[in-house]
Symmetry: C2
Subunit: 116 residues, 2 copies
């Protein structure tokens, strides 16, 4: 949480961002099941060097803001190769098995850091 304000010390070279829209975002059984599955992934996954798991923030409505997602999960990997390894890692496959039936839509964005 206390990350130095330092351009050299960005949050990582490979950022894997996943936005989830649950089928039933107001169903407590569904949200509990999703959160349990993703917390297991966070605890057990060996590839990520850092994680962020959150919900949509209650920000002011602006035309460019998409506030409709249920959950956001971001993982930092050291490089593209490690992200590729993650795709078939057992912890990732278990998460998909446990949680995929709960969401109706997922968007993934993958980004490599530029030198700043």
């Amino acid at each position: 949480m206390m990350i130095k304000k330092n351009i050299e010390n960005t949050t990582g070279p490979f950022v894997h961002s996943v936005y989830f829209w649950l089928k039933n975002p107001d169903n407590l059984e569904n949200t509990n099941a999703f959160e349990k599955a993703i917390r297991k992934l966070i605890r057990t996954n060996p590839q990520a060097t850092s994680n962020h798991f959150g919900k949509a923030a209650e920000v002011e409505e602006r035309a460019v803001v998409d506030n409709s997602f249920t959950y956001f999960y971001m993982m930092i990997f050291s490089d593209l190769k490690t992200q590729n390894t993650y795709q078939t890692d057992p912890t990732h496959e278990l998460f998909i098995k446990e949680a995929a039936h709960l969401w109706e839509r997922v968007i993934v964005y993958d980004s490599i850091s530029e030198t700043t």
Copy 2:
């Protein structure tokens, strides 16, 4: 870049993620102008505790992956209030003035960390 793998030490409580699609992503003059403007923002902005600036990564094509954006810029703020301050900060307003004519589409996602 070397962030501890520690669930307590996530990448921050408020994650502001912005995806940019430039009008002319292959025009070097345009990309240089965008990068110059965003680097100025990164160097001068007082609100963000951490940043990631990158391009779309060359990952394997999957149905859920949106690889079409030109740039991704993520800022970590300590809380929602600081993000609100950022919206009208002079460094943010200058960035919009210098770069907004270069993009055709922007999506912003804002997320607050959940306790993991």
